[in-house]
């Protein structure tokens, strides 16, 4: 086993050897090395996060027919560093009547809920924090901590707007968690495991080809979890100024902002892992773990780009419409899709792979078509109720 095949293990063994040669307890050395690994991963993520700010601003500029940051450094690459310096030297304000402890913990929790997700992200076949056998559920658990951080921020700021923003955001997150959880079950059904690595390993055919509807619903639920447009009514600057983070200044606001960007990138990564084969790309991942990392980062960036594309193209929708959309459309469709997929999986488990793929796609198309037809007829009735009877009918009387 050499460095180029399993760099993390070789580096960890080397470090553990050094620590134990200093006379350190073996268990303690092990814990220390693991701790250093986490520290390095988080540092790399935070550095990536800095450039995500630049990517986001450049992409939004393209969508809005502008240039974006272009003054500081080549292509404006130094701009995020200037922003960070600005955030750091800003006055750190705390509103009157704020609950100081909760107010200060909230941005930390927000950032933590994103970073903790990377514990289960497989970067390469041999590079994964923990290959947890409940890895898929871990995403939802980390999301729960994010929800908590938002409600803490909103409440502790002692500001009506921030509380309303937090209420909206939490209502969205709690409700969109359900279709997301259901959609996480679909890769679980296909692969027979909840572990991230097992899900990737069983994607000889990308799961998006088996269940395109699941990939779409997961993306919608992920965007809602992120609180990005069209689901960004927690921010709603025309009504709420800025939402739950209204009272935060300087780097505490920066934590929320950076957390949101990294969260979007991370969900892009999960979309790639669950439906687009993760680090796999025509066997390239077997060549070198470094190539696998490059593949998953590129896939995550593509997913992130799709999320940005949606954000800067769609309009914000109203909270009641959004909750109705979730509870009356997305959640039932998600549950039906899970049941249909489980049934089809059981029926076709022994079949040829082409029959399996065709059956799965057909069942997806049928579920999508039937649900859209039901929605169309219901919305037609709603519209008739609001607009009254058709004028043609009245003219005959």
């Amino acid at each position: 086993m050499n460095f180029w095949n399993d760099p993390l293990k070789v580096a960890a063994d080397w470090l553990t050897g050094i620590f134990t040669s200093w006379g350190m307890n073996a268990v303690f050395a092990h814990v220390l090395v693991a701790f250093l690994g986490v520290l390095i991963l988080i540092t790399i993520l935070m550095v990536i996060d800095v450039f995500l700010v630049w990517i986001e601003r450049k992409v939004v500029a393209r969508f809005q027919d502008r240039l974006g940051p272009n003054r500081v450094g080549p292509f404006g690459l130094i701009q995020p560093f200037a922003d960070i310096i600005k955030l750091l030297i800003k006055e750190d304000t705390t509103p009157d009547g704020a609950d100081k402890v909760v107010y200060n913990i909230a941005p930390l929790l927000s950032m933590m809920s994103v970073l903790i997700l990377w514990a289960v992200v497989p970067l390469a076949p041999v590079m994964i924090g923990v290959d947890l056998n409940a890895g898929v559920l871990f995403i939802i658990a980390a999301g729960a901590i994010g929800t908590l951080s938002i409600i803490m921020a909103g409440w502790s700021s002692n500001n009506k707007f921030s509380v309303i923003g937090a209420f909206r955001q939490v209502a969205v997150m709690v409700s969109f968690e359900i279709p997301m959880l259901a959609m996480l079950l679909i890769p679980t059904i296909f692969s027979g495991s909840m572990g991230m690595n097992a899900i990737i390993q069983s994607q000889n055919i990308w799961f998006v080809f088996l269940s395109p509807l699941a990939a779409l619903i997961f993306l919608i639920a992920a965007i809602a979890e992120l609180g990005r447009a069209p689901f960004d009514l927690a921010e709603g600057e025309s009504e709420l100024v800025s939402g739950y983070n209204i009272e935060y200044s300087g780097m505490k606001f920066g934590m929320f902002y950076a957390g949101e960007l990294l969260h979007a990138f991370t969900y892009g990564g999960f979309w790639a892992i669950l439906f687009f084969g993760g680090y796999r790309f025509f066997g390239l991942e077997k060549v070198s773990p470094f190539l696998a990392i490059a593949i998953i980062v590129i896939k995550a960036l593509v997913g992130y780009w799709v999320i940005m594309w949606v954000k800067y193209t769609m309009m914000r929708i109203r909270i009641d419409q959004m909750l109705a959309f979730n509870w009356k459309f997305l959640t039932p469709v998600a549950f039906v899709l899970v049941m249909v997929t489980a049934l089809m999986n059981a029926l076709l488990s022994g079949a040829d792979s082409w029959l399996y793929v065709t059956g799965m796609i057909l069942s997806n198309v049928i579920v999508a078509w039937v649900s859209l037809e039901i929605v169309r007829s219901v919305s037609k009735k709603e519209r008739e109720k609001v607009e009254g009877l058709k004028p043609v009918v009245e003219a005959h009387h």
Binding site: D99, A134, L137, I140, A141, G143, A144, I145, M152, V170
Partner: protein, 169 residues
């Protein structure tokens, strides 16, 4: 004492301390947040018992849903979030006696159980706890009946809640 035992004692102390803060905190939102800390401590204890799945479910269900609903309910129903009056009534000592008696009774009962003083068996590598749990919950020889009864109970609660909240036209 092994490192695991020290860690367990620390987590246990933090969990108990947080639980104490839940009942003594004057501020209801603070009490709810301490409750979150308590539930998180319980999740860590599950992890120490090699029950990663149960730990994750604990976080998803109790912190992600129930604690958030508590905070929502407190925020929406109370005008002031501070509690007034004494936080304990004059029966506090009876409650304490019941709590201590329950703990003593459980300890006494568990002491007669053969597994109480055993060290845990080492889990073989490749042991898939989730599929074992899934099989146990859905096989007729296992716990399918209690599982179904619990499911029906939850469904009935769901339907009941919808019925109560439903606005009759």
């Amino acid at each position: 004492m092994t490192g695991e035992q020290i860690f367990f004692l620390l987590v246990g102390l933090v969990t108990l301390g947080a639980a104490l803060m839940v009942v003594t905190s004057r501020d209801l939102v603070h009490a709810a947040l301490w409750l979150v800390a308590t539930l998180f401590g319980v999740a860590v204890i599950y992890t120490l018992l090699n029950a990663g799945f149960i730990a994750v479910v604990q976080v998803v269900v109790y912190i992600g849903a129930i604690a958030i609903l508590f905070i929502f309910a407190v925020m929406l129903t109370r005008r002031t979030l501070r509690d007034t009056g004494a936080s304990v009534n004059k029966n506090w000592w009876a409650g304490a006696v019941v709590a201590v008696a329950t703990f003593a009774g459980l300890t006494f009962l568990l002491q007669s159980w053969s597994g109480f003083s055993k060290t845990a068996a080492v889990i073989p590598s490749g042991f898939d706890a989730i599929s074992q749990l899934g099989d146990a919950l859905t096989s007729p020889a296992g716990y399918v009946l209690p599982f179904e009864v619990a499911s029906v109970l939850l469904l009935a609660a769901l339907v009941g809640a919808v019925y109560l909240a439903f606005n009759k036209k």
